[in-house]
Symmetry: C2
Subunit: 344 residues, 2 copies
């Protein structure tokens, strides 16, 4: 992370955290456990609701929001409620995703449903969803005009709907043998890119971006979001376990329908071979060398890298459209570079 | 239902339904099944997504909203987006409640999760939650001022949070041996009354209610909502199966922690006897006469009826505070009377 970005994060993460804590506070003993589950998921307390100091998430979305606000000439302090709303929304989606995917662990801790059961976890997620909207409305407390609050709310709500559409496709894909690359791109557009796009767009809107600029910012965020997801997909197959923290070839063994693997599954020449490999009753690390050889023949690494780079470039182009000459020296440019620099 | 109310319903239910269909439409083939599940829950299609004509729900909340708008001198057409939002929110909560309670049937049809599984059902509910907010924002399309839209949104969001608090308590109560009457009232305040209160308050706000009037309308709705829930509790124990459609003493056999049964469980003299009755390993209809005799000794029917009537009267009082001399001839007064007239 560059010095400017580091300085920006150090300045704005504490007030962001304070804003989120204010929105998610709860206010009476009878519902203390309801808010306790939420605080647990946010990393603020342990399973007995005692305060803990865990490393916070990277808070990527709210930071992009605050940066966009600053880069169009606004005061990031005015955008803090929106930044908090975006991070709370992201965390709501994680709570429900963990139930839907049956994941028992997140960040080395048991997930909310694994501790308190599915009914309370669904309901705690619903509370976070509602509180994300409450967070956004606090823009009015920071003198953001009503029309601007409604504009931010429109983008925010569209994004919530897009998230559920992406998640719908993701769940559906698991039950299907064939998924096309186009369908996959549609899925990550909803599940990952829409929220990153909204983060930048809402930051720009609150910061007073000229008409059209917030749309360019949104395109920047969406493209970077797609590129970021594809990078994740590439790391899931070829990433260095020492760097990613995942086992080598993790996504192959999980038969994850990620971009490089879908590219191989749909390959006109070697698709048959990869499909029959993928449909074996059991896959172990012994099967990885054969998989890697098939993936070399389909050139799926090259394909995915090309897609990622094209989206990254399109994102930078959209940022130039938004900020003109200032684009390359902006925090958003540095953030995009930083995001794409994770080690292979 | 009185003639005025019937006429009002016949006039406004079709445009309400059209407003909800517009918001919940979906817009592309890839997510057709996502929106199909929502349309199924709304009663518009069957499980194969073919149109059906089922008797719609009573649409109580949106009708109260539209009535309140009219009674303060507004045009109900302007409040249609809010009415749609309230009904969609109510239906979102039913989709998630059905999962949380493990209920496989609703209105003689399989529930969404029973057909499409828990992951897709959680996600379809989330989409309805987001779309309820989208519905509300359509107030701007009907020339409702931005400040009024934000006022409606504030009440709406508070209500969403209250719903999750009520649901949190409801789920918790199932795992507890003792629940006090006060705790129960707090639960139904969140789970049932808050949304009915919000329906009337938002209708009044959009209709241009004078300051303070929308707060009185909200109190009216909340009190009537509480009275309505207690009536439901009474019917669950003493209702005529031919009228309620439930088995006699249904709530006793389900050990439901409803107001009259909590009153008996907490009774200073006969509480012990009722608690040991309730904790029997199996309860069948053969046990009902003994239960009814215990409930007669605790006078729980009388207690619950008294609470219901007091809340009903408090509701009418709040309506008088809101509408003055016009209260008794208003549609909201008729609606309250109609709601409380269900047969014992």
């Amino acid at each position: 992370m560059g010095r400017d970005m580091k300085q920006f994060s150090e300045q704005w993460l504490p007030p962001l955290e304070a804003e989120m804590r204010a929105v998610l506070a709860g206010n009476e003993p009878s519902t203390a456990a309801h808010y306790g589950m939420i605080h647990y998921h946010m990393g603020w307390v342990d399973a007995d609701f005692r305060p803990v100091a865990l490393p916070a998430g990277k808070r990527l979305r709210p930071l992009l929001c605050l940066m966009a606000c600053q880069e169009v000439g606004g005061d990031p302090a005015q955008a803090l409620p929106a930044a908090a709303a975006l991070e709370i929304l992201h965390n709501f989606s994680l709570v429900h995703d963990d139930i839907e995917d049956g994941d028992k662990q997140r960040r080395h801790r048991p997930t909310v449903w694994a501790i308190w059961g599915v009914p309370q976890a669904i309901n705690a997620g619903d509370a976070m969803f509602a509180l994300a909207f409450a967070a956004l409305q606090r823009l009015s407390l920071r003198a953001v005009p009503a029309e601007t609050v409604l504009g931010a709310l429109r983008i925010f709500t569209e994004t919530c709907v897009a998230l559920t559409e992406g998640q719908h496709l993701d769940i559906s894909f698991e039950q299907r043998a064939c998924v096309s690359v186009e369908e996959y791109m549609r899925m990550i557009q909803g599940k990952t890119a829409a929220l990153i796009g909204a983060s930048v767009a809402i930051g720009g809107l609150v910061g007073g971006a000229a008409p059209g600029v917030d749309a360019s910012l949104r395109r920047f965020g969406q493209s970077i979001g797609l590129a970021f997801q594809i990078q994740d997909d590439i790391l899931g197959v070829w990433g260095d376990p020492a760097v990613t923290g995942k086992a080598a070839g993790a996504d192959i063994l999980r038969r994850k329908k990620s971009l490089p693997l879908l590219h191989a599954l749909n390959h006109p020449v070697h698709g048959d071979a990869f499909r029959s490999f993928f449909s074996q009753s059991e896959l172990t690390s012994d099967d990885l060398p054969a998989a890697m050889e098939l993936l070399a023949r389909t050139a799926s690494h090259e394909y995915a890298t090309q897609q990622m780079n094209a989206l990254y470039m399109a994102g930078l182009e959209a940022l130039r459209a938004a900020l003109g000459d200032r684009a390359e020296s902006s925090l958003l440019w540095s953030a995009a570079q930083w995001l794409m620099q994770r080690q292979m």
